[in-house]
């Protein structure tokens, strides 16, 4: 049977098989493996059947730990079961993995291998996670390419059923999981024929059943545990042969032969590299080249790492081997070597002279490719060169410059083995312009319309707004083993003109190569707009230079800013990879396929874009000399701190790979206040203040997600040297009479979301479309506004004591200590964080759960967390996803203990300190900011008094004196954390009664991993893992917390009632126990217009979907009901809120009846919840029994 050639990524390749051979799949999102679960859920939703003719059951769990438990249970009761995971997720599965292996239960876990969080989190690929599971008793089975991910998934399934040993099938995160490649797809018949039905039946026979009951999971004592643990040895001994048997059977089926250890290289090789994962592909590519040059080199690809077959390995190793380099894609600090290295050392030396070597080979180990660090042929060559030395360096690193402990190998970075055949193209695009989608489509077009092989790999930056993408595409007549980025491109497309001013986009382009630039200028004028260095490089490399104004074509065609099909058409027209006509037909077919379900108009618009593209494509006649006066822009200002210039700027300018080890902090500690130096300049339009009609309400400042709109109230004398276009008016509030007022926008930090304009309540009476703040084109005013912003920053802040902290109008002048984050333009979460920093930032500590907020808060190169002029600001840390509440509680315990200790010392040293000061220090309640300010002065006085004292107790007091000033602990995270994976911890922290403030940024999905359903997702909303709409109601976290009766609980929606949000933040912080704020956070994953998202918040509250309330236990002592409803009964039907959001709307398009029913139930959910809260709020409360003490109430 002829098999289909498909262009898919590694995740899909593995999931394709996993879905077909299993009956139950427990899933949980984690990058980079989430796609496998998403696909499985989508297939289930679409009714795709497995090879047994039934639709697998997919269940999302609350964590990977939960998924592993569910898998274990499903296996125990006889279903063929799997799961997908990575990184920390795999770590959470480890306890169950011991159990599953200990009970000899066949299953395959598919893992997109990823780094583990250590000094920092990284979502990228290496083997740290799988190596941390190597001791569980699971077989570790490594595939190295997209084709192999599919092949190994099947072989693993067959082998686990026969060997009874559970398998962990892994492939490299991103490099394989996200690489798109043309592969041969196994058919369902292939899969069915490959599995032994009797073994499946045997698995079912072993299942727990009341029809033939047994017990499993006993507790064993010293007498038998040991022996029982040894009783499975023979299963492990037999496993390698079973795997090899299925590898041979697979060869019979497909013609692709795999071995436990695959050897490539000269038969008499002397220098050998041992490696597993995608890096093996790079090595194979390089070995081919080196062998052509007569080098005696070889490569062993490790396929089955556990159980490790020494015998098979020794048999594979050429007897001519003199020296071996074992490459580990992991780091085990403090070990005598990384795991694979130690295994190989052991394999060779355990066998000793029996191995058949004349002289025992020398073995060295090295680390490479951590966190998807590039691993290139140049590095492989470097390692072989090292092996040729008489004393090669052991425990080396490759691909970095280690100037600290000097582990790194030097190598020739310019060495390349890129084939002269085929097309290698690099595209620099903006996330929003559709470049990646177009390239994915090009790969499919070439993969499916020509005999050529195709490969695509995509690199993204760390920002969610205005992000940059780089696509690497290879097409060629031979299978592509190049699992590394393109270093020699014959085509470079730059889809945004701004890039050429910031980065060297031509670096990889070969001499005579083609450069296609999307220009906003007329084609005749574009050459003169290029920076001089770029002109020179084009001339020197004899580059064929093409330009197109893609945005103009897109506008004409009516497709907005999506220039994807336009640039794609140009690529095909110039690159010659297909005949022009053939290419255009193929592009149109692809457009039709992509858009046909979205309406004919969309197809037509894209067709029109394709047709217009070629008319607007121009080849530029390159002059003989460079004449431009345009200079490349500076990455960061000269005024920025040393660290920013030395490290941060390099990362920003995409030169982070060049940073040596010594330049990076050892312990993951980084300075705050760095986002302000990264002038991203991404907004085409920015807001402009109309001072004449502004009512100074401060709403624009409150909602700005990026803190780019600021207000200052100041003495008019500061205006003396103001720039000509700087705007200032008299402050309107009485208490600020005589002072000046300015709203200023940071032009290069704004993302252009427009949410400020939408919220502005003022209309220009002469032209009602205008407000007191309006979006205008950035370019013409940029220069002036940069000057104005700089001037504005130097105006002194107003004394916080003069500001009303209880009104949005007042708070607008408080300095935010969270600014210019890389969150999505119009983000619904960040305004809450910003507000927190305005109010309490100078005394806040933040524990941040992994998720969107930890990414825009802490993804290098910069951080939005910053400090004030006194050097105070929020101290921020991210521990993990699941433990954030506990992590934050740890802060509180530590602070409380140290404060207690400090107080004890103050009492003890009262005579030295002075009785008045000591009494004041101890008595200060610090209920408000003024009081805290006073306490800081007292602590300073205390320090002055103690600084010359030599007593050890005084020194101890000095070390904890700052703890006498009240600290505000904030535990921040999303709903995935609070409702799901971190709920157990959150619940416990609430129960302790400790004074922490928990802020749940509730987007109702796992936003950061791409919108998977959480328990906060509402009934009827479509999300990943809920492709048919979530069938159950949103969990009522607030109600659960209220039941403790000692927790301050509030529900807020800034866009609906900003003053309420402010009040809640103040009350929650003031409350001397645990506070839980659940904040409605609109999100890009809702499928909404982000500019008008604050209106959605209004709709949410009006419809009763998101009631506003406060539950304040302090009110009980006053004899009042602690629950106050701050919004009214539902006033509009739920549908008026939901119909504006794609997450609800799309179900109506696919399953209208189901959508109707779910929305009907969702409306009932709204009424029922409202009724419950209304009843609760109406109950009469009696004052608390004064005989019950605070401790007894949990406080």
């Amino acid at each position: 049977m002829k098999r289909k050639q498909v262009t898919i990524d590694g995740n899909e390749a593995a999931a394709y098989v996993a879905y077909r051979v299993n009956e139950v799949i427990a899933i949980y999102p984690i990058t980079p493996s989430s796609t496998m679960g998403e696909l499985a859920d989508e297939w289930m939703s679409a009714g795709v059947k497995n090879i047994y003719g039934t639709i697998p059951l997919i269940q999302e769990m609350q964590s990977e730990g939960g998924a592993a438990g569910a898998v274990h249970g499903a296996l125990q009761t006889g279903a063929l079961t799997t799961t997908f995971t990575a990184s920390q997720g795999l770590l959470l599965m480890i306890p169950n993995m011991y159990k599953i292996a200990g009970e000899l239960t066949p299953t395959v876990f598919h893992v997109a291998a990823r780094s583990l969080a250590a000094q920092a989190l990284s979502i990228f690929g290496d083997h740290s996670d799988v190596m941390a599971a190597r001791q569980t008793g699971f077989a570790l089975f490594s595939s190295a390419s997209v084709q192999e991910a599919m092949d190994f998934a099947l072989m693993a399934q067959a082998a686990t059923l026969e060997s009874r040993i559970p398998f962990l099938h892994f492939f490299d995160g991103f490099r394989t999981s996200h690489e798109i490649s043309k592969i041969e797809q196994l058919t369902s018949e292939d899969i069915a024929a490959f599995l032994n039905e009797e073994l499946i039946a045997a698995h079912r026979d072993r299942a727990l059943s009341p029809d033939h009951p047994v017990i499993r999971g006993t507790t064993q004592d010293p007498d038998v545990y040991f022996q029982a643990r040894e009783s499975t040895n023979h299963f492990y001994q037999a496993c390698p042969e079973i795997v090899q048997k299925y590898m041979n059977k697979f060869y019979q089926l497909t013609g692709r032969q795999y071995k436990l250890f695959d050897y490539f290289g000269s038969p008499d090789a002397e220098r050998i590299i041992v490696i597993m994962g995608s890096g093996a592909e790079t090595c194979q590519d390089t070995v081919d080249k080196l062998m052509q040059e007569g080098e005696k080199v070889g490569l062993i690809k490790v396929r089955l790492y556990r159980p490790f077959s020494v015998q098979h390995f020794i048999k594979t190793l050429p007897k001519t081997t003199k020296v071996i380099a074992v490459l580990d894609r992991t780091k085990e600090p403090g070990s005598t070597g990384e795991p694979l290295y130690l295994d190989i050392v052991n394999a060779v030396f355990e066998n000793g002279t029996d191995s058949g070597f004349k002289n025992m080979p020398r073995i060295i180990g090295g680390r490479y490719g951590l966190s998807s660090k590039e691993f290139t042929p140049a590095m492989v060559k470097g390692i072989y060169d090292e092996l040729a030395k008489s004393k090669p360096k052991n425990h080396f690193t490759i691909g970095i410059r280690d100037d600290l402990t000097h582990t790194s190998l030097d190598y020739d970075e310019d060495y390349t083995i890129e084939s002269p055949f085929g097309v290698r193209a690099i595209f620099h695009g903006l996330g929003s312009d559709g470049t990646v989608s177009a390239n994915k489509s090009s790969i499919k077009i070439i993969g499916e319309n020509t005999p050529n092989y195709a490969q695509g790999y995509f690199v993204y930056d760390s920002k969610k707004a205005g992000s940059v993408t780089i696509s690497h595409l290879r097409f060629g007549p031979k299978p592509i083993h190049s699992s590394y980025l393109i270093s020699r491109a014959n085509f470079v497309g730059c889809h945004s003109f701004g890039f050429i001013e910031k980065y060297n986009v031509l670096k990889e382009l070969v001499e005579g190569g083609v450069f296609l630039l999307n220009t906003p200028y007329e084609y005749t004028k574009t050459w003169d707009m290029l920076p001089r260095e770029v002109q020179q490089e084009i001339i020197d490399k004899k580059i064929q230079f093409y330009v197109i104004d893609g945005y103009a074509v897109a506008r004409e065609a009516g497709i907005g800013s999506k220039i994807n099909t336009i640039m794609q058409t140009c690529f095909f027209a110039i690159s010659g990879v297909l005949e022009k006509e053939e290419a255009i037909t193929a592009i149109k077919t692809s457009i039709e396929k992509t858009y046909r379900n979205k309406g004919e108009e969309v197809v037509k618009m894209n067709f029109s874009a394709v047709d217009r593209a070629l008319e607007h494509l121009h080849k530029i006649k390159v002059p003989h000399s460079a004449t431009s006066s345009v200079k490349k822009s500076q990455t960061v200002s000269d005024k920025s701190p040393q660290f920013v210039q030395k490290v941060t700027a390099k990362i920003i300018s995409r030169c982070g790979d060049q940073i040596p080890v010594s330049a990076l902090p050892f312990d993951g500690t980084y300075p705050v206040g760095t986002a302000k130096w990264e002038k991203r300049d991404i907004a085409l339009e920015i807001p402009q203040w109309d001072a004449d009609i502004c009512i100074q309400c401060g709403k624009c400042v409150a909602v700005c997600p990026h803190a780019v709109i600021r207000t200052k109230i100041y003495e008019p004398e500061h205006l003396k040297k103001s720039p000509a276009t700087f705007k200032s008016i008299q402050a309107k509030d009485k208490e600020f009479e005589g002072l000046s007022y300015t709203i200023q926008v940071a032009p290069e930090d704004c993302t252009g979301c427009g949410i400020c304009v939408d919220i502005c309540p003022v209309k220009n009476k002469a032209e009602t479309r205008l407000k007191a703040i309006n979006m205008v084109t950035q370019q013409p005013i940029k220069k002036d506004e940069i000057q104005n912003w700089d001037f504005f920053l130097n105006i002194p802040e107003l004394d916080r004591g003069r500001v009303k902290h209880t009104t949005i109008r007042g708070v607008q002048v408080l300095e935010p200590l969270f600014e210019f984050s890389g969150a999505c333009a119009g983000c619904g979460e960040t305004p809450y964080i910003k507000l927190m920093t305005q109010l309490f930032g100078d005394r806040a500590l933040v524990a941040n759960a992994t998720g969107c907020s930890s990414i825009y808060g802490g993804n290098l190169p910069t951080t939005p967390w910053t400090k004030n002029k006194e050097g105070r600001g929020p101290a921020w840390a991210n521990s993990l996803f699941e433990d954030n509440a506990e992590f934050g509680l740890g802060f509180r315990l530590s602070l409380d203990k140290q404060a207690e200790y400090a107080k004890e010392l103050v009492k003890e040293l009262e005579s030295a300190i002075g009785s008045d000061l000591a009494t004041q220090l101890l008595a200060a309640e610090q209920k408000d900011e003024a009081d805290i300010f006073e306490q800081r002065i007292r602590v300073e006085a205390l320090k002055q008094k103690l600084q010359h004292t030599n007593s050890p107790r005084a020194k101890q007091l000095l070390s904890v004196a700052d703890m006498l000033v009240k600290k505000s602990v904030w535990i921040i995270g999303g709903d995935g954390w609070a409702y799901d994976i971190g709920f157990g911890g959150l619940d416990h922290v609430l129960s302790t009664g400790r004074n922490v403030n928990i802020l749940v940024l509730d987007t109702e999905v796992y936003s950061n991993t791409g919108g998977q359903a959480s328990k906060a997702t509402s009934r009827g909303a479509v999300a990943k893992f809920a492709a048919s709409g979530k069938p159950t109601a949103k969990k009522d976290l607030a109600r659960m917390a209220m039941m403790y009766e000692h927790v301050y609980v509030a529900s807020v929606a800034l866009g609906a009632k900003d003053e309420h949000t402010l009040k809640v933040f103040l009350e929650a912080e003031r409350y001397e126990g645990p506070s839980l704020i659940i904040a409605y956070s609109h999100c890009i994953a809702h499928g909404i217009n982000m500019t008008t998202a604050m209106q959605d918040q209004k709709g949410a509250v009006l419809s009763g979907y998101w009631p506003l309330f406060r539950y304040n236990p302090d009110l009980v002592q006053e004899g009042k009901n602690p629950l106050i409803l701050d919004s009214g009964a539902p006033k509009i039907p739920l549908e008026e809120y939901t119909h504006k959001q794609n997450r609800f709307k799309i179900l109506a398009k696919t399953q209208p009846q189901l959508s109707k029913e779910l929305l009907r139930l969702a409306q009932q959910d709204v009424y029922k919840r409202w009724e419950f809260y209304e009843n609760l709020a109406a109950q009469e409360k009696k004052p608390e029994n004064p005989n019950i003490t605070k401790q007894e109430t949990g406080r």
Partner: protein
């Protein structure tokens, strides 16, 4: 007494038809309308904007922000799974057809000759007995000539007629320089009926918020005068059926419309105001009047007061203007 009439080739038990309105969004109302005695129901409209802009928006928000950030390369399940066409509308027609025995007329509302027209076919396939094409065009372009606009109407009609086999009615506004000529050309282009008239929603101003607000004004009884005149003028001069709509609130209104030549009379505002059951009041009122005045059938009275058939045809013309003015001034003088 024979109340039956023929409209769009459909034999109807009486001339009362429920016009396209929000009432028909609820399938139960189809049953109630049938119970109240209406002879056919025009389903609420599928708008061109639903097919084009809304679908485009749905696609936009499915893909907005995708392929930008490495951990969230998309935010929804694969878009290819979604059929973003107006499935819900078609499903509604299917349900309506199942719910009632009387004819259900689909309604397609738009203004340009575009891809949306193919939904006429889908409406036919969903089981609609006929189609009402509501061409709702409001010219704002100073350069658009009346000829261009009129041709646009004809092109849309021709495209739809090519697409479907079921009869097609065209619902029109009265704003043409020569309405009879427009009616004739539509007739020649294959319109099986003309529905007179469409009432434009007129925007209003919200003074407090300085916003333009969409405003649905229900008709009053005087609004029937406009269609009454034009139906009277067109009756017997074109092949297409004539349906009267706007301001028909009572039995007398319906009778007048039939007398000037309407084949059916459509009810909308009055049902929205007084409820679906009001249709039965109108129907019994008509029967009673016809009995009292010894009419045997609707057919008998149809067109009897049209310009062609009446005693003083000039009353429908400019001469009428003078009489009105005179009567007005004399009334005021008295």
């Amino acid at each position: 007494m024979d109340l039956s009439t023929t409209y769009l080739g459909l034999k109807l038990k009486n001339p009362l038809v429920a016009a396209a309105s929000p009432l028909t969004e609820d399938i139960d109302n189809f049953r109630r309308l049938e119970d109240a005695g209406v002879a056919a129901i025009v389903h609420y409209s599928l708008f061109e904007e639903q097919i084009t802009r809304e679908v485009y928006e749905a696609d936009h928000y499915l893909t907005f922000g995708t392929e930008s950030f490495v951990e969230s390369l998309s935010y929804f399940p694969t878009p290819s799974q979604f059929i973003l066409g107006p499935e819900e509308y078609l499903e509604h027609i299917r349900s309506a057809k199942k719910a009632v025995g009387i004819p259900v007329i689909g309604s397609l509302n738009g203004h340009s000759d575009g891809g949306w027209i193919k939904y006429a076919k889908h409406i036919e396939e969903a089981g609609a007995d006929a189609l009402e094409l509501n061409i709702y065009f409001l010219p704002t372009d100073l350069d658009a000539t009346s000829e261009q606009i009129e041709n646009n109407y004809l092109n849309i009609l021709r495209s739809v007629k090519k697409t479907v086999r079921i009869p097609v009615a065209v619902k029109l506004s009265p704003f043409f320089s020569s309405f009879p000529n427009m009616a004739k050309r539509l007739d020649q282009a294959g319109a099986d009926a003309l529905v007179l008239f469409n009432r434009f929603y007129q925007p209003d101003i919200d003074l407090e918020n300085l916003e333009i607000t969409p405003n649905i004004l229900l008709s009053n009884r005087n609004d029937m005068r406009l269609p009454l005149r034009w139906i009277a003028i067109l009756y017997g001069r074109i092949k297409a059926n004539l349906a009267a709509t706007s301001g028909i609130h009572q039995a007398e209104d319906a009778l007048k419309m039939l007398m000037v030549g309407a084949d059916v009379t459509m009810l909308c505002s009055t049902l929205l105001r007084k409820g679906v059951g009001h249709a039965s009041t109108i129907l019994s009122g008509m029967e009673q009047w016809m009995q009292e005045h010894e009419y045997q059938s609707v057919q008998q009275m149809k067109g009897s007061m049209s310009q062609k058939m009446c005693t003083n045809p000039e009353m429908f013309e400019r001469a009428n203007y003078m009489k009105v003015l005179k009567s007005f001034s004399s009334k005021n003088i008295d």
